[in-house]
């Protein structure tokens, strides 16, 4: 078993909702992420799936320190960020980089590809111009772009090429962890596979750890070692990729999986459709968050919140296997 490189413990983020004409009053909180715990082993890929608004991207933002935590902790190499001194904090910041969903928004239209890619090196300091040029050339080759693209502006690239530039940028300071927030969902299906293969190759080559966030189960299934399923700010199930698909336990995961289209017209589809809509994260249901939409619902579900069980971890009162 490899070492845990990144872990989150009871990670919580509430966004205050303010209202009022003259004086803002906090009227409540959107519980975007509510006590999420998971860990990622060195060199492995953790996939986070769930529908829109379940808090996946908020987790990415919390890990990237783009938003302050409400509660809980982030552990990097076994140490919480709160305990770290400036030197260790700096190491963390440059060890974690990201690739975002929309390659049209994630590259500054006014910067050349070489400046975009080498920016983390510029801010880290200690690199000469020649260092950066060499590194940019090397990275462009790694992501499969021509060396000439270094002097091009983002609008001269296609969507897939832009995403390659974004990947090259994330790699430039040799990070340990890359957070991939919906890395392929803005791309054409034909490019999705290319980019996913590229990400796989890069991971192997540089020994990277990935946290991949997606709403697309097929994407996550292919690339992940462990998968976590989120619903309404909580992790409902977390298991090694193989066992999650073969022994689905949580009713929500089951519904999610049955929604994945099977590209074979002869297969009889037995879809489990969840009734109703996702409750508001402003006022999530008591007890198990899934209970209003669950087929296995019992009295206990509305009263008591299920704990995560060990092994193939699932937050449900029933053993559904």
């Amino acid at each position: 078993m490899s070492d845990v490189v990144l872990a989150v413990n009871k990670l919580t983020k509430y966004f205050p909702v303010r209202a009022g004409l003259v004086f803002d009053r906090t009227k409540g909180y959107v519980k975007a992420v509510d006590g999420v715990t998971f860990e990622i082993n060195d060199g492995q890929t953790f996939g986070l799936v769930g529908e829109s608004g379940c808090g996946k991207t908020t987790i990415a933002k919390l890990l990237l320190l783009l938003e302050p935590l409400t509660d809980g902790s982030i552990l990097f190499k076994g140490k919480t960020l709160a305990e770290m001194n400036n030197e260790e904090m700096r190491e963390y910041k440059f060890s974690i980089q990201a690739v975002f969903q929309d390659p049209y928004s994630s590259l500054n239209p006014r910067m050349r590809a070489c400046d975009i890619i080498s920016e983390p090196m510029t801010t880290a300091g200690g690199f000469t111009k020649v260092d950066k040029e060499d590194r940019v050339k090397e990275l462009l080759e790694v992501v499969g772009l021509l060396p000439e693209s270094a002097s091009m502006y983002p609008h001269e690239f296609s969507g897939g090429q832009r995403q390659r530039v974004a990947v090259a940028r994330a790699l430039s300071v040799n990070p340990k962890i890359i957070i991939l927030d919906e890395p392929v969902s803005a791309l054409d299906v034909s490019f999705q596979a290319q980019i996913l293969n590229l990400l796989g190759d890069i991971q192997e080559r540089f020994g990277l750890t990935y946290l991949i966030i997606s709403h697309d189960l097929a994407v996550v299934e292919n690339i992940s070692d462990t998968i976590g399923v989120m619903y309404l700010g909580k992790l409902v199930e977390s298991a090694p990729a193989a066992s999650l698909y073969s022994e689905v336990q949580h009713p929500y995961t089951r519904a999610l999986l049955s929604a994945v289209p099977i590209p074979d017209p002869d297969v009889e589809v037995t879809q489990e459709v969840l009734g109703g809509e996702v409750p508001s994260p402003l006022n999530p249901p008591k007890g198990c968050r899934c209970h209003p939409r669950c087929s296995l619902k019992q009295v206990i579900c509305a009263e008591q919140e299920p704990e995560f069980r060990a092994g193939h971890r699932v937050a449900c009162h029933f053993d559904t296997n």
């Binding site: 990237l64 320190l65 974004a166």
Partner: protein, 302 residues
């Protein structure tokens, strides 16, 4: 024989090149606002090289040649191409020198107001909160002020001249830049590349200057170009009512103002500076409109 045929060949070839060149020139002229650009360049050159271009001293009085009509009309003289004014000063020279005033006011005034406005807009949009509220309320106040009325009040207290107009342009002009910059910054700072710059540990200063500021420059360039016309107009209006540039220093506005008394007897005095003004303002607006399309990166991709 062969020599001759090759010769004719060459001539027809060069004729073909000529028509092609002419065609290229025509497409070039059609593609951009060539004529407005030429007008603006002419005005700029006039302003810079006024002492060399002007045939006469713009302030030299020639009582014998009072109200001489333009050279081509009856009674005109080749000495004064566009005629003379009521004291016999050469109108062409005065218009050439007048371009100086217009351009100096426009360039200095707009440089100050655009820089100030952009900095305030960037600060306002980027930092938000109290800073934003404070700056935007000042902008609201500035925009609700009656500019001409206050400018008159200003000018009646402080001795009038070119610098007072520059001051007024700078003081009243910045609020548009602030609003536009702020709006763009507000949307830009939520873009993913700004978040990624944060992830790459770029400093606030770097994010502001390298990631955000270069993006609204297109919009600002267009705004500046359109503003030039407006400011030249404002200077003329201000000098026309007698508060701006004081005679005998020529400005398009005060020549116009002097000319209005002679409109029935000497039409040329008010007409030519008026035409110059119109051509310049027109050109600025044309260039501004053209820039708006030319700088749009979405259109540029095509």
């Amino acid at each position: 024989m062969t020599a001759m045929s090759s010769n004719t060949n060459e001539t027809s070839l060069s004729a073909g090149t000529q028509t092609r060149k002419a065609h290229q020139l025509l497409t070039f002229i059609r593609r951009g606002p060539t004529i407005p650009a030429l007008i603006i360049i002419t005005v700029i050159l006039c302003a810079i090289f006024a002492p060399y271009l002007a045939p006469h001293d713009p302030q030299k009085i020639d009582p014998k040649a009072r109200l001489t009509p333009p050279a081509w009309s009856e009674g005109g003289s080749g000495k004064y191409l566009l005629g003379t004014d009521s004291t016999g000063r050469d109108l062409l020279s005065r218009i050439i020198y007048g371009a100086r005033v217009s351009l100096i006011v426009a360039v200095i005034g707009i440089s100050i107001s655009a820089t100030l406005g952009t900095i305030l807009g960037l600060t306002s949009g980027f930092f938000g909160g109290i800073t934003d509220m404070f700056i935007m309320r000042i902008v609201d106040v500035m925009m609700s002020l009656p500019v001409l009325f206050l400018a008159l009040a200003f000018a009646s207290v402080i001795p009038s001249g070119m610098y007072i107009i520059i001051l007024i342009v700078a003081f009243f002009g910045w609020s548009h830049y602030t609003r536009i910059t702020r709006g763009e910054v507000l949307s830009l700072k939520e873009r993913d590349f700004v978040a990624l710059a944060r992830v790459a540990q770029a400093s606030q200063k770097r994010i502001m200057l390298k990631h955000i500021l270069p993006n609204p420059t297109n919009t600002l360039t267009v705004l500046v170009t359109l503003d030039v016309g407006g400011v030249i107009m404002f200077e003329a209006a201000f000098s026309f009512i007698g508060f701006g540039v004081q005679p005998p220093t020529p400005s398009w506005g005060n020549i116009l103002s002097e000319g209005q008394n002679y409109l029935t007897t000497a039409w040329w005095i008010a007409t030519f500076p008026g035409l110059a003004l119109m051509a310049m303002v027109f050109s600025c607006n044309f260039i501004g409109d053209w820039l708006r399309d030319a700088l749009d990166p979405k259109l540029r991709q095509l």
